[in-house]
Each structure stands twice: as structure tokens, then as C-alpha cells.
């Protein structure tokens, strides 16, 4: 059976291009409709698995539409998040933010359905460039600088990926985007993994994430928290599953993220660190590579997009209302923003993995897979991070924003209010899904790529384990909460090297190199130009006195010889002249004959 294939990314791209032309009362329905049509297209495609959209480009075959169970689940959640994110941002008049966001979604969907590296790379870069505009749309100096850092880091990642797949093409002659041979990795395997890893914010290539997400616009961050890292997780599942090094990197990432989250003062940076930590779980799942682990990584990415989207939406609501996002400038807001409190609590509890919430049914799959693979250390480390996650996102964050000491200025307190209807509607939708996924497990589990792995989260033992960990973590927080109070600080990270490295480079250019350039300039002025002047003066003198003198002297000499000759030989008597001429000719003739 042939079906008509319309690429979901194409709908978003065409929609984004037409968006600035749709104005007035048509704008809002249009903005709802385009992501909805994309979502319907994704669902339609998921019913018709297969390979579509094959084009011949020079010597290569490009595949735009590889539809299988793995791309289906990621396509589904990305399209769903596009609807929620657009709903959330519907009140924003600046259409270029929406255009950038939709191109960004298109990039993500395109990368998910791509069947070869060239197509992947095309959409990969589209994502990077479109999302940069979501940072720049904030239009202040910090956002501008953060945007430049973001695009530079991602361009670097893109180049590493490009280098990897070109080397692979040279070695194997294949551009297909499939599972790499991770048991005997080549240089290109490492390069491809590093390129993909940068977008998943795996240390040491992670610093861009909290930096950029905290500087983006409110709706920009909602989109960004969903697409870049989770698309990268998808590509890692596709190409690097079972790569053992990812287990270690994932565990490091999970712990590293949570420690920075606990130190953080900026709400959205804190949530960014939480992403690093949670994506660590998925990366561990990819590294383990068993059916259950891969299912766990997919399920966790799915759940993560919704609850992290919800948390970023709540943080964005606070930022939009008060203009503040530092914990030291907030506090006690439950009286002014009760609905936002509820949404943030739902998101916080879902990320912490409270039973009946989405995190509970997804995170535990990865931990169980680690136990089943006899990776006790990894499983315990992830459980340790789970406790830390509850501490940072489920307890500390809502406590410091909505309860605790009221640090709001009078102006902030005046301005604080629950967000507009569309923002609340989007948050309700995401919040509902967080609970729905946790309560009705088949909805998510039936979509998972590996149908052979069976998992039951609601066993008595698992429930008792989770409830104990959470209850005692909460107890620990209330005992030790004075040690995690926010401070007006910024936490130094790996980005120190390129931020300060950039400055060092600038300093070198501005100081020693500039000095050298000036020195060469003044040397030239004082020595070289003088030399040149002296040389030219000499050559002018030489020309005047030397060369011209010789030429003139020769001419004068010839003239005076001529005069003398004419005085001696041409005296005016014809006989004498004939005599001299004939004698001279005779001498010449004799000389010619005899010699």
C-alpha cells in the first residue's frame, strides 16, 4: 500500500514562513492549528511504518522519512510539546520568536526522521541556529553574549559530527544513520558520539545548557528544554546504544548536575542543571543498551519533556510576571501565584518520581535495567541522584520561591500574579499528562520501541523503596535546609575555560599582539621609511651626478673631438682634403690586402 508522505518538519517550516503574514484575529487559531496538523501527521505516520522521502543528491541517497517505533515515540512527544509550547507562548506578539521556535521544532522532527547523516546534519544545524534566535530574542546584553557562546559551542559540535561521519563515509562508504559498531570503536565512532553528546550536554561538553537556557526568553526556554537534549538522546540511542563509556559519563552527569542544581541561585539555571542530571539517566540507559534500558531511556525522555516543560513554564510565568528569576529575589509567593505553585509542585514531584507521576514509571526502568545488568554501582548512584533530584526540584525550589523567607522587593510583590489563560492552559495540559502517564502506564509503555521488554513499576517493593527514599529525603531537607539556602553567587564550571580562554585570547590580541603590531609600525615609520628616503635621495643624486654626468660628459667629449677634427682636417682646401682621404683609403687597402 502506498501512502502519501508529508514530512511533519515541512508542515512546521511552511507554517513558520507564513506566520508573519497571518495577522489580527487569524493569528491565534493559526498558531494552534499548525502544530496540531503536525501532531496529526505524526500520528498518521506512526500507523504506517516504513521508509519515505528518498531523494538522490549527487552520489548520495538522502532519506528524510524513516518511520519506525523509535522515531515514532520521539516524533510523538516532540509534536505534542510543540502544541503545548506554542499554546504557552500564544500571548507573545513578537512573531519572530514563534518563527524561530517552529523552525527549531522542524529541525528536531527532521533529525528524528532522518535516515542518513547528511539529512541529520542539515536538521541538526537548523535546530542550533533557530534556537539561538530564541536566546537573542530576549534582547539584552547578557542574552546576546549567551547566544554567541551557544552558537559557537554548537557549531563546534556540528563540525565534530561532520568530521565523524565524513571519516566513516571514507572508511565504509556508507552514510546511513544506523547503529555504529561500538564494540570496536574507530576514531569516527568517537567523533560521531562526541558530536551527538555535545547536544545531550554530556560532561565535559555540557556548560552551554544552563548558561543558554537561563538567558533565553520565557517561551524560548520552554521550547529549548524539550528539543535539543532529547533529540540528542534519540540520536545516541540510534547510533551508540550499548557504548559502555556512556554509562560512566551518564552517572557523572547525573551527579554533577544535581550538585550544581543545589548550589544554584537562578531558577532557570537550576532547572537547566536538573536537565543535565536527568539526561544523565537517559545516557546511562543508552550505555547499558539492553531492551529494557533503551525502553527506559525513551520513556524517561518522553516523561522528562513534559515535566521539565512544565517546570520551565512555571519558571517562565514567574519571570514574565515579576521580571525576576533569582531565588534571593523571590520567596513567599504562594499568596500571589497559587496556580503557578501547583504546577511547579506537579512538575517537581513528577521529576522526583513520586508514585502516580510520570517520573516514577520512567526513571525506575533505567535503574532496574542497571540492576539487571549487574551494574550495582550505577544503579545505586542513580538512586542517590533521585534523592538529590527530589531535594533540589521537589523541595528546595518550590520552598524557596513560594514559601521560606520573602525576599521580594515591593515592586516584585506588586507585580506577582498568576499568568494569563493560555499559559495556565498549557501548564494544565502538561500537568495533566504528567499525572496521566503515571496513572495509566499502557499509554506510554505501548509506544516504547522494544516490545520484548516487560516492566511493572507498581510492585509493592518498588513502591516501598520509593516512598521511603522520598519521605526520608524530605525529612533530611527540613533538618538541613539552612545549608542549602540560596546565595548571590554564580557557580564556576567548565565554561570558565572558554569564557576566560576567550578573554585571554582577547587580552593577547589587545596587549602583546597589539604592541607587536605597533612596534612594527613605528619601526617601519622610523627606520624603514628613513632608509627608503636616504636610498632614494642617493639614487637621485647618483642619477643626476653619476649617470647623467657620464652621458653628458660623453656627449661633450664627442662634440669637442668633432670640433678638433674639423679644425685640423677640414681647413677648407679641397686638394688637401682629397689627399688625406685617398691616403687614408690606400692605407686601409694595403692593410686589408697584406694582413
Amino acid at each position: 500500500m502506498t501512502i502519501s508522505f508529508v514530512h511533519p518538519a515541512l508542515i512546521m517550516i511552511v507554517g513558520a514562513c507564513l506566520l508573519p503574514l497571518v495577522r489580527g484575529p487569524f493569528r491565534k487559531p493559526y498558531m494552534f492549528l499548525v502544530p496540531l496538523v503536525t501532531f496529526i501527521d505524526v500520528i498518521y505516520l506512526s500507523q504506517h511504518a516504513g521508509i519515505y522521502g528518498i531523494f538522490q543528491f549527487m552520489n548520495w541517497e538522502l532519506t528524510f522519512g524513516r518511520v519506525d517505533r523509535l522515531s515514532m515515540i520521539f516524533g510523538f512527544i516532540m509534536a505534542l510539546m510543540a502544541i503545548i509550547g506554542t499554546l504557552y507562548g500564544m500571548h507573545v506578539e513578537d512573531e519572530w520568536q514563534h518563527v524561530a521556535a517552529w523552525f527549531y521544532v522542524a529541525g528536531s522532527l527532521g533529525a528524528i526522521y532522518a535516515g542518513d547523516y547528511i539529512t541529520l546534519f542539515l536538521f541538526w544545524e537548523m535546530m542550533a541556529f533557530a534556537s539561538t534566535f530564541l536566546i537573542w530574542a530576549r534582547k539584552d546584553e547578557e542574552a546576546l553574549a549567551a547566544g554567541y557562546r551557544y552558537i559557537l559551542v554548537h557549531t563546534f559540535g556540528g563540525v565534530v559530527l561532520l568530521l565523524g561521519f565524513v571519516l566513516r563515509y571514507q572508511a565504509t562508504g556508507s552514510l546511513s544513520f544506523d547503529q555504529l559498531n561500538v564494540s570496536s570503536p574507530e576514531l569516527y565512532t568517537w567523533l560521531i558520539m562526541a558530536g551527538l553528546m555535545l547536544n545531550a550536554a554530556v560532561p565535559p561538553l555540557h556548560s552551554w545548557l544552563p548558561d543558554a537556557y537561563s538567558k533565553a526568553t520565557a517561551i524560548g526556554a520552554v521550547f529549548m528544554c524539550a528539543f535539543t537534549t532529547k533529540t540528542a538522546v534519540y540520536t545516541l540511542i540510534r547510533s551508540c546504544s550499548g557504548f559502555e563509556v556512556l554509562i560512566y559519563l551518564g552517572v557523572i552527569m547525573a551527579i554533577y548536575g544535581i550538585i550544581y542544581a543545589l548550589m544554584e541561585n537562578d531558577v532557570r539555571k537550576l532547572l537547566g542543571w536538573e536537565i543535565v542530571s536527568q539526561v544523565g539517566f537517559m545516557v546511562v540507559g543508552v550505555g547499558i543498551g539492553t531492551s529494557l534500558a533503551i525502553n527506559g531511556a525513551c520513556a524517561h525522555a518522553f516523561a522528562h519533556i513534559l515535566y521539565k516543560g512544565l517546570l520551565f513554564m512555571a519558571a517562565g510565568a514567574i519571570l514574565t510576571a515579576t521580571g525576576k528569576q533569582k531565588l534571593t529575589q523571590l520567596g513567599g509567593l504562594y499568596k500571589k501565584m497559587p496556580s503557578t505553585l501547583v504546577f511547579m509542585l506537579i512538575g517537581g514531584l513528577a521529576v522526583s518520581g513520586l508514585p502516580l507521576m510520570s517520573g516514577f514509571i520512567s526513571k525506575s526502568m533505567i535503574i532496574t535495567a542497571a540492576f539487571e545488568a549487574h551494574l550495582l554501582w550505577a544503579a545505586f548512584a542513580l538512586l542517590f541522584v533521585s534523592a538529590g533530584t527530589f531535594l533540589a526540584a521537589g523541595l528546595r525550589l518550590p520552598y524557596l520561591i513560594f514559601f521560606g523567607t520573602n525576599n521580594c522587593s515591593e515592586e516584585t510583590w506588586e507585580k506577582a500574579e498568576d499568568p494569563s489563560w493560555n499559559m495556565q492552559f498549557a501548564m494544565t495540559l502538561a500537568g495533566f499528562l504528567c499525572i496521566f502517564l503515571g496513572c495509566y502506564t499502557p499509554f506510554l509503555y505501548d509506544m516504547l520501541p522494544n516490545t520484548d521488554a516487560v516492566f511493572h513499576p507498581y510492585t509493592a517493593y518498588h513502591l516501598s523503596e520509593t516512598l521511603q527514599v522520598m519521605a526520608f529525603t524530605a525529612f533530611g531537607f527540613f533538618m538541613l535546609r539552612r545549608y542549602v539556602m540560596p546565595k548571590e553567587t554564580t557557580s564556576l564550571d567548565i565554561d570558565w575555560f572558554y569564557r576566560m580562554g576567550g578573554r585571554a585570547f582577547l587580552w593577547i590580541v589587545n596587549n602583546p599582539l597589539q604592541w607587536l603590531d605597533n612596534a612594527v609600525g613605528s619601526f617601519y615609520k622610523s627606520v624603514a621609511i628613513n632608509c627608503l628616503m636616504v636610498t632614494s635621495a642617493f639614487s637621485s643624486w647618483f642619477d643626476w651626478n653619476g649617470i647623467d654626468g657620464i652621458v653628458d660628459g660623453t656627449a661633450r667629449c664627442v662634440r669637442s673631438i668633432g670640433r678638433r677634427v674639423s679644425i685640423v682636417l677640414q681647413r677648407g682646401q679641397i686638394q688637401q682634403t682629397i689627399y688625406l682621404t685617398v691616403s687614408f683609403a690606400a692605407v686601409l687597402l694595403v692593410a686589408y690586402v697584406w694582413l
Binding site: 550538585i259 548550589m263 538512586l383 542517590f384 531535594l391 509493592a460 517493593y461 557557580s491
Partner: protein, 83 residues
């Protein structure tokens, strides 16, 4: 409604605390009756309330690490980078 509920609970903080302690006790007691045949390590089977202890110590350890790490010079003044 939410605000009233929170204010109501806030006025009775002592009772809220007691009910939380009660909930913790119930969870621990219940966990002892749960079948541990699916546990992964001997510690989970042998130590009653193992995961409670694990949660509490994880919480304390992660706070300690964050505190120590932050104080070791990682937490710099806010305008460290100027942008």
C-alpha cells in the same frame, strides 16, 4: 482556595509535622511487611528501613558535597563574568 488551605496548614504547623512523622513511621513499618524477594542486594533484605536510611544519608551527603564544593571556590561572586 489554595492560599486558604496553605494558611490553614501554616497555622497548625505542629500538627502537620506530627502527621508527616506518622506517615514516615507508617511507610517504614509497612516496608517491613513487603516481600523482599525481588531485592537486588543482601543489605536491602537484612536492614529494616534500608531505603529510608539510604534516602536520608543521600540527602545529607549531597548537601554536604554541594556545600563543600561551593565553598571550595566554585561559588564566585555574581558579576564574575560581567555578562
Amino acid at each position: 482556595m489554595i492560599v486558604n488551605l496553605i494558611d490553614y496548614l501554616h497555622e497548625r504547623l505542629q500538627y502537620v509535622a506530627y502527621s508527616c512523622y506518622l506517615a514516615m513511621a507508617i511507610i517504614v513499618v509497612w516496608s517491613m511487611t513487603v516481600d523482599t524477594s525481588h531485592a537486588h542486594t543482601w543489605a536491602e533484605k537484612m536492614i529494616p528501613g534500608f531505603w529510608g536510611l539510604f534516602g536520608l544519608s543521600s540527602c545529607a551527603i549531597v548537601i554536604m558535597i554541594a556545600k563543600w564544593y561551593g565553598n571550595s571556590g566554585i561559588q564566585a561572586r555574581e558579576d564574575y563574568y560581567d555578562n
